[in-house]
């Protein structure tokens, strides 16, 4: 009986430790890997307070130290995952004391998280729309909520991407072009994955559908379109062969090793511009600006171009 009680007690203690370790937000080092991927805004809110307090404490302590420890929080479009991770390695190696924490997701989700109070130093979106929605200097027709999060002087157009039509291995429907896809969609003969209307690549796809005068609503209710919540989800669905084709960026196609059938022209969906800006809620605006400057430099540019981005600045 005694052994059973001891074991039960040990298990209870172990469980408590596990819960506290997972639940509490401790040093910024923990946030790096785990919290970077979370979508929920609530954890981000609570961690904002503990984290900024810790950073303030650290800054006070570090005023005496030669190297200031700064954590930069970068919200970037999901399509930048692979390249930004590579750049992080390069930047952190060259800049002691700087740690970069990423939050990759659809730009629509990121914009909502920023709006709801998430901590963020630098925002890179996959379309001007989401950046405009946060920029007080932008057209009020787009920034309908009058949000002011962007430091306008820091805003630049960082990259250009291409919207592409991709197919699973073996190209089951023998697709050859967007033109042919449009015809097959009209005939109801193909199953396509696209981003939903909150996702920039989904918005570009909507433009392409409109260009071909196809009704997205009709296609959707006929069950010919399936929606992903970000471009990586769409890419995975194509890779898994769950759909006949998908519309993603050229960079995602490259990173996932998918066959690109066709690229959309500027006439079909406009230019795919990725704006970047430092946010006015940033606790480290200077460091954020320094990182943004690095992103326009030669090293970062070669990383971006290696997967198919075009650098604009």
């Amino acid at each position: 009986m005694k052994t059973k009680r001891i074991i039960a007690l040990l298990l209870a203690v172990a469980m408590l430790l596990a819960i506290t370790a997972c639940g509490a937000n401790t040093a910024p080092e923990d946030k790096k890997t785990e919290d970077a991927a979370k979508e929920d805004t609530t954890p981000a809110d609570t961690s904002t307070e503990t984290e900024t307090d810790k950073e303030k404490e650290e800054q006070k302590a570090d005023e005496k130290d030669p190297v200031e420890k700064i954590e930069l929080i970068v919200f970037a479009a999901a399509s930048m995952t692979e390249t930004m991770n590579k750049i992080k390695e390069l930047y952190e190696a060259a800049n002691e004391g700087i740690t970069i924490t990423y939050n990759f997701d659809s730009s629509g989700t990121l914009k909502t998280q920023i709006q709801e109070g998430a901590a963020c130093d630098l925002f890179i979106s996959a379309a001007p729309k989401q950046m405009n929605q946060l920029d007080i200097a932008a057209d009020p027709e787009i920034n309908t909520e009058g949000l002011d999060f962007v430091i306008s002087e820091s805003r630049i157009n960082l990259l250009e991407n291409k919207v592409t039509l991709v197919v699973p291995e073996g190209n089951p429907k023998g697709l050859e072009s967007f033109d042919q896809l449009a015809q097959l969609l009209n005939d109801g003969d193909v199953f396509m994955a696209m981003g939903n209307s909150d996702v920039p690549v989904g918005q570009y796809t909507q433009k392409i559908l409109a260009y071909y005068e196809l009704s997205e609503e009709d296609l959707a209710s006929a069950g010919k379109i399936t929606y992903g919540s970000n471009v990586k989800e769409v890419t995975t669905q194509v890779s898994e062969g769950s759909v006949d084709c998908g519309v993603v960026y050229a960079t995602d196609a490259y990173s996932a090793g998918l066959e690109v059938i066709d690229s959309a022209t500027a006439e079909m969906c406009g230019q795919v511009i990725y704006p970047a800006a430092v946010l006015n809620i940033s606790e480290h605006a200077e460091a954020a600006q320094a990182f943004l400057d690095y992103l326009t430099g030669a090293e970062a540019t070669s990383v971006f171009e290696s997967v198919g981005f075009s650098a604009l600045s």
Binding site: N196, A220, S221, A222, T226, Y227, E240
Partner: protein, 224 residues
């Protein structure tokens, strides 16, 4: 909103079919698991209860890895025209997998608290095993069985994680109430999301009320 009622029909259909499947499978395993030798029983129990303990996304991942259209089993089934990925009956698979442990455990609990002497009396009277099972054991355990069925139905109706990963969100084809609410919220259609939340609440309330009434009536009958 409410023009497209497909999610309602789809969710109910998926929940109902999964519930029926899980009812028979759960009872089957609960009954025969009790008869297995100790060593096997323990391992089987863990495997059968696992989907209840695992996060739904983990279950969804396993289902994708097993039935994905690039995987051996998925390719084989596809040759017979069966695709669990991106189809509504894939939703039935996902819901059944996560709801199964609920039925299994509850049924097992009910069977284990069954007074075996009733079964023995049946045997001495010359009844076949299946008659004993369906006419003596099941009615005696019906409260536990009913509870398990309700839990399984509720779980199947509310399934999101595994469903979303396996069958995605295709309006008019694989959309369920839970995936629809998520997508409407993601695309900032607050009123649409709220509508479906209310629909789901209404269904759940009706189901639970019906079950309560049923239980109350049975208790009355037993007392008499």
């Amino acid at each position: 909103m409410g023009i497209d009622w497909y999610p309602l029909w789809n969710s109910l259909r998926i929940a109902a079919i999964s519930c029926v499947l899980v009812f028979f499978l759960g009872i089957f395993f609960a009954y025969y698991a009790a008869k297995l030798p100790r060593s096997v029983k323990g391992i089987l129990d863990v495997i059968l209860t696992l989907p209840m303990v695992l996060p739904p996304t983990v279950c969804g991942y396993f289902l994708l890895v097993t039935f994905g259209l690039r995987r051996p089993l998925g390719i084989l089934l596809a040759q017979w025209g069966i695709k669990f990925v991106m189809t509504w009956y894939g939703g039935v698979l996902a819901a059944a997998v996560v709801a199964f442990p609920l039925m299994y455990r509850t049924a097992r609990g009910a069977f284990e608290s069954f007074d075996e002497t009733l079964a023995y009396s049946g045997q001495t009277l010359g009844l076949s095993n299946s008659r004993i099972f369906w006419r003596i054991r099941m009615p005696a355990c019906r409260q536990g069985i009913l509870a398990g069925t309700v839990l399984a139905f509720a779980r199947a109706l509310g399934e999101y994680g595994a469903t979303s990963m396996l069958i995605g969100y295709t309006p008019g084809k694989t959309a369920t109430i839970s995936t629809t609410v998520y997508q409407l919220w993601r695309t900032n259609d607050e009123s649409g999301a709220f509508f479906w939340v209310m629909v789901n609440l209404a269904i759940s309330a009706v189901v639970l009320l019906a079950v309560n009434m049923l239980e109350a009536r049975q208790k009355k009958a037993v007392r008499k």
